[in-house]
């Protein structure tokens, strides 16, 4: 009985800390964080709202031709994909233990985006990222500006 309880507790704790795995945050995102900046004004909002934001943006882009960087899936991939240190190639962002998968595995949600969308930054983007001295991001906030409210209420 107590063993079962311990297993349950471990599972619960696991799910509570699953998102804090910084290893899969992605190369550009890590660089941005190291520079003391962040792209998302509210981390909790993007965690909860990203499906809605992406869905809203896809219609605006495809049907109205609004191609801003805001809520762009291309932007997610470019910032949050991580390099394989051995080969130097990028892991597909939806591969096991990569940025998109870590949480979606946890909650058993399959991601459909990448049946069609590219899963790694394009060569052109990588070249741009490599030549830039600072992380490429059109919109960043410093640590003080970030809305911390509700970050821990997952």
């Amino acid at each position: 009985m107590s063993r079962g309880l311990i297993i349950l507790l471990v599972l619960l704790l696991n799910s509570a800390f699953a998102h804090s795995n910084s290893h899969s945050l992605g190369d550009e995102a890590n660089a941005l964080r190291a520079a003391g900046k962040t792209f998302h004004k509210s981390i909790s909002a993007i965690r909860k709202m990203h499906p809605e934001l992406l869905k809203h943006k896809r219609d605006k882009t495809l049907r109205q031709g609004i191609r801003t960087d805001e809520s762009s899936l291309k932007g997610c991939v470019n910032c949050h994909s991580g390099k394989n240190d051995a080969t130097g190639n990028y892991h597909p962002i939806n591969a096991k233990d990569q940025f998109c998968s870590t949480c979606h595995q946890q909650v058993s949600v399959s991601v459909d985006c990448f049946a069609c969308h590219r899963t790694t930054p394009s060569q052109a983007t990588i070249a741009k990222q490599n030549t830039a001295a600072e992380p490429i991001s059109t919109n960043t906030f410093t640590a003080e500006e970030v809305d911390k409210k509700g970050d821990d209420d997952e």
Binding site: K41, R63, Q64, R67, C116, N139
Partner: protein, 246 residues
């Protein structure tokens, strides 16, 4: 919401002032995150079109147009599909005059109709015509029924029969959805020319791209001067792609 009788006028004004303040705060947050890229939707004040002069195009030029499209959008590398299944966003069509046996080559792609049959038949609204005349497939909604492929008089659409990886980041493609020429909408929105047009424009003005409505545009002025036609003009689809020389 039930309002209690104790909620008097003074409280109401206080509460509404607080609400207004919070709205302003949100609004200022939004202005902080605005971007330089165009945020205004495309309008029907423009109508994108193309004029293809087949007399000025060699077969080689058309092949270059096809490969420029393949390179831009990443199609043509399908290995598990049969020849009939392989996508063809743009293809080289040969037409022969029965009397004189004169052969004309022409590039054929989505004609971006004003009254597109593919949009009429789509059961999920995945086939869509943008306000500026570009006809697209919304692959988020496409269920792969292929009615649009049946309806299209130009055989301009293809179906993806196999799993794909390493797509171009500006051109998502995937198994189970229909696809076709997008008039390089991602480039047009940036003010550039479609890839196929760019591949010939360095050498000649055989293919002109531009706004059909803009009387100062090259395509508008050329269309006023030269004899041009729409393929299957009898169907009254009012295509955005026009041909001269056929």
């Amino acid at each position: 919401m039930m309002m209690s009788k104790k909620f008097n006028r003074r409280d109401f004004i206080k509460a509404s002032t607080a609400t207004t303040a919070s709205v302003t705060a949100v609004a200022s947050g939004i202005t902080l995150t605005t971007f330089a890229a165009s945020e205004t939707p495309v309008t029907n004040e423009k109508r994108w079109g193309m004029l293809v002069d087949t007399n000025k195009l060699s077969e080689n030029d058309i092949d270059n147009m096809v490969s420029a499209c393949q390179q831009e959008h990443g199609w043509g590398g399908e290995i598990h599909s049969t020849n009939e299944q392989k996508p063809a966003w743009i293809k080289n069509i040969k037409v022969q005059d029965k009397a004189t046996k004169k052969i004309t080559n022409l590039p054929l792609m989505c004609q971006h109709c004003e009254q597109p049959p593919c949009v009429d038949v789509c059961p999920t609204n995945a086939s869509v015509r943008r306000a500026d005349g570009i006809v697209l497939v919304d692959k988020h909604l496409c269920i792969g029924c292929r009615y649009c492929m049946m309806a299209c008089p130009y055989d301009a659409r293809s179906f993806v029969h196999e799993n794909l990886t390493e797509q171009k980041e500006h051109s998502p493609r995937g198994k189970g959805t229909v696809e076709s020429c997008t008039m390089c909408v991602h480039k047009v929105d940036k003010g550039e020319q479609p890839a196929c047009v760019a591949s010939v424009s360095a050498k000649s003005d055989a293919v002109i791209f531009g706004d059909l409505y803009d009387s100062s545009s090259n395509i508008n002025q050329t269309l006023k001067q030269v004899q041009s036609t729409q393929i299957r003009a009898d169907m009254n689809l009012n295509t955005g792609v026009r041909y001269s020389g056929i």
